[in-house]
Amino acid sequence: MNLEVEIGGLKLRNPVMTASGTFGYGEEYSGFVDLNQLGAIVVKGISLKPMQGNPPPRISETPCGMLNAIGLQNVGLELFLKEKLPFLRKFDTRVIVNILGNSLKEYQKISEALDDAGVDAIELNVSCPNVQQGGIMFGTDRKMLGQLITGVKNIVKNTVLITKLSPTVSDIKEFAKTAEDSGSDAISLINTIPGMSIDINTRRPRLKNITGGLSGPAIRPVAVRMVYEAYNAVKIPVIGMGGIMNADDAIEFFIAGASAIAVGTANFVNPEATTGILSGLIKYMERENIERISSLTGSLDIG
């Protein structure tokens, strides 16, 4: 059985990744799962300077989902390279760094440093809905998105470039194409969908930030649809995520067109979700006589 997949030239031992912001810097889950078993670890979004993040409450549960407005709290590029990356490097897995900036310059600076540090891939977060300056403009304006991708692509030498698409657009296909045309090696989707919840007793928003990003099984049907549409619009690999809780959900994304998948909110519910999904995937392949996981990608039967 062959679980290997390739994401824009980067070989992953298997297609199970973690979704940025839901797996800390790897350390937090190292007591629960063997990190060597993961296809790749995608770390929490890194900015040039450390960010404090939003005031609490930052999360709120919703039906089959959760809202978060962490506000991109992170240790910043310098500390990440000094303290977090060395830990991750101890494991035999790919390290993908999710990054964000307020300007092309910032994205470029971070990318350059990460490229030098030899991380396996950079995931451009252009879709975080929490911080005004957090790149929301890049994610919903095709021209800006294209410039950003080209700008970063020109800087990095070895690092694979993944663009994480925002789901808050009317036609995801166009944005997928923009990413492809601008030189992105792969796309990942979906990021959270902006949402809001109100405590009717206090009449206050449940998040101090008022709005936050919706994740979890609630959004899975939207994510599967967007992966399907994006897959059919571009030739670069698609990394699918959004509400994947178990192997069956993951398989849905492969059939829709994903080459790899990322596990997000599920980690919170079950810290062993990633490796559990991997075993489930293997069982399914055995049962269905699938030799290469990559043959599952886009195998939707619409006959």
Binding site: Y29, G53, V269
Partner: protein
């Protein structure tokens, strides 16, 4: 080391209208929880609603597991309340930082507001006949384990909002009275508290004005419970501001990992 595991419900005993005592049996008891630590419990019975696990303090260890004392508040705790003997619950724990063990020679004042008792009970139990316990609740029927607490403490002070038992009013008031009659010099005291945030803030101020160290256990919305999601942020004075005494400068800490027990002087209330 915290683990992800399943535990069997031995008993889910109603204590009153909206509080229950859950007794869990764990197969491998090697992970000894400490007073002040907590567990994330799956309250879900099929499907993904509610989605997230719920945080509950270690109430008391048992020979083959532990107990949780909980208040039925919303969706998740209602579901938990409906679970029966033999049902399995998946959970993560023990989690977080425990109450620091009080040095010998210091007298712990342990303060609990309402179901906050769930968090401090095992601490009181771990230092038998050393602590003064201050326990406040809405009314008499929301005060639990009074006999045990009487036996475990050097003194048990009670208050209820409706005056149905002990002093009428907030437990902070009882604490004020205590200062008047106290026998030891103040710096021998050490405060531990768990309860509603306004109460903890009050206690923090009192403690600071009396120059007593206070440890408080905080609550915040949690998703992961293990430090990964950054959801459970609490504002603490940044190391610099602590030195400079400026309250402007702060950093966020995680209730689940850096807490839930914090030195009250660190928190920006």
């Amino acid at each position: 080391m915290s683990r992800y595991f399943r535990a069997k419900i031995r008993e889910n005993l109603p204590l009153n209208r909206n509080h229950k005592l859950l007794t869990l049996e764990t197969s491998s008891p090697e992970n000894e929880p400490l007073p002040g630590q907590f567990y994330m419990l799956g309250v879900n019975r099929g499907g993904y609603d509610p989605l997230l696990k719920r945080a509950f303090s270690l109430f008391r260890k048992t020979s083959d597991g532990f107990q949780i004392l909980y208040r039925i508040k919303g969706k998740g705790t209602s579901l938990l309340g409906g679970m029966k003997e033999g049902d399995m619950i998946d959970m993560i724990g023990p989690l977080g930082r425990s109450y620091p063990v009080p040095e010998t020679g210091r007298t712990p004042l342990v303060i609990a507001g309402g179901v906050g008792m769930a968090s401090v009970f095992s601490l009181i139990e771990s230092i038998p006949e050393r602590s003064y316990v201050f326990y406040g609740a809405k009314s008499k029927d929301e005060l639990f384990m009074l006999d045990e607490l009487g036996a475990l403490s050097k003194g048990l002070y009670i208050s209820t909002d409706d005056g149905s038992l002990g002093k009428k009013g907030n437990i902070a008031g009882v604490l004020e009275d205590f200062w008047g009659r106290k026998h030891e010099t103040e710096d021998q005291y050490l405060i531990y508290a768990c309860g509603p945030k306004p109460l903890l803030g009050l206690i923090a101020r009192t403690a600071s004005s009396h120059s007593i160290q206070a440890f408080v256990s905080l609550e915040e919305q949690m998703a992961c419970g293990i430090g990964a999601c950054l959801g459970c942020a609490v504002r603490v004075k940044s190391p610099v501001s602590v030195l400079q005494g400026s309250e402007q400068d702060f950093i966020y800490r995680k209730v689940c990992k850096d807490g839930p027990v914090f030195d009250a002087a660190e928190i920006l209330w």
